[in-house]
Amino acid sequence: MLNALQHMGHRALGMFERLGRSALFFLQVLISLPSVFLRPRLLIQEIYSVGTLSLLIIMVSGSFVGMVLGLQGYVTLAKFGAAESLGVVVALSLVRELGPVVTALLFAGRAGSALTAEIGLMKATEQLSGMEMMAVDPMKRVIAPRFLAGAFSMPLLVTTFIAVGVLGGYFVGVGLLGIDSGAYWSQIQSKVDFYDDIYNGLIKGVVFGIVVTWIAVFEGYDTVPTSEGVSRSTTRTVVNSSLAVLALDFVLTGLMFGI
């Protein structure tokens, strides 16, 4: 019994230690950010591998989510004779919640885990150490560009997801289920407010982007330099990012849409 408590206490302390380390790490990354602009080529390369390569999965997922919303929304609304409001249901769900959250989860799984694995592997093969000995700061050359690329790409991916989702809903609602196309768009335009809804959705995207990329990059940097260590770090990135996104979503939604 006592053993179990001791074990739990040990784990809890470990968690606080990691949290502290990751906060200090975050500060270090922020300090290194200005130097990224001296190497635009590197930044562009990273945006490519983190953002552009995620585009396909985001677009496909976005269209499917939009289509499902269209279908489910129609089924439910038709019971109340309110099928014409389908556009609003699809648009608001995507803009306020599903867009930022699902994009962030997908991003964590695809780009986040890739970042962790890449950096972790560089640590395990002593490349980071080697760079240090060559008087090149790995923070500036490896970590900061990847962090900036992730934080930059996320909002763009979010807008793409939402746009494709709304179109998916249109395809199902108007194309397949026969709702009036004018009604779909005009209802959306009258009920979705740019500042309250879209702007807030974008802010969520930016915040999630920063958090997910921070976790991914930190876990990579903090990896135990063995193959098992890399695998565990990658898993932690996906799990912790997902939990953080969902928790933050609750907080942000409360702040934005008013409790």
Partner: protein, 152 residues
């Protein structure tokens, strides 16, 4: 992948993201009719505005001609003052036009409906509508109904 190709692809990615944002701004939100520039303002006083909100539509014969841009309380006359902005193209409402607050559909978004009167003089910027009908408050109706029932 040459560096050039990579840069092009990144450019495409950013362009797609921004285009999506643009599309959202235009088609998926009310930004396109956010042109509060052109229009003239008139006001109307109501005893009860019910659930009317700023940005609620102002219609004539069902056609949207403007929006509510401000709601305030007049403490001298003890009623609500609603400021509306009407689009410039609809500039021939007679002075005795009436404004009523109705509810749209079952899910209850409230709006102002204008019914033109018969005078020759028209409403201009800053004028007030004299004939108004307040929003229907459910409790009052039920109360009235019950009074009617018991008095029979």
């Amino acid at each position: 992948m040459t560096t050039r190709m990579i840069e092009v692809m990144v450019g495409v990615f950013v362009a797609i993201g921004l285009a999506a944002l643009f599309m959202l701004a235009m088609k998926v939100s009310n930004l396109s009719d956010f042109n509060q520039g052109s229009g003239y303002q008139i006001s109307a006083k109501f005893e009860n505005i019910g659930g009317l909100k700023v940005k609620s539509p102002v219609t004539v014969s069902g056609v949207r001609v403007g929006r509510v841009v401000g709601i305030s309380y007049d403490s001298r006359e003890f009623n609500a003052v609603v400021h509306m902005q009407i689009e410039d193209q609809y500039n021939d409402f007679p002075m005795d036009t009436s404004a009523s607050i109705y509810t749209a559909g079952l899910l209850g978004e409230q709006y102002i409906a204008l019914e033109p009167g018969a005078e020759t003089e028209v409403l201009k910027n800053g004028d007030t509508i004299d004939y108004t009908q307040s929003a229907l408050v459910l409790e009052n109706i039920i109360g009235q109904f019950m009074v009617n029932m018991t008095s029979e």
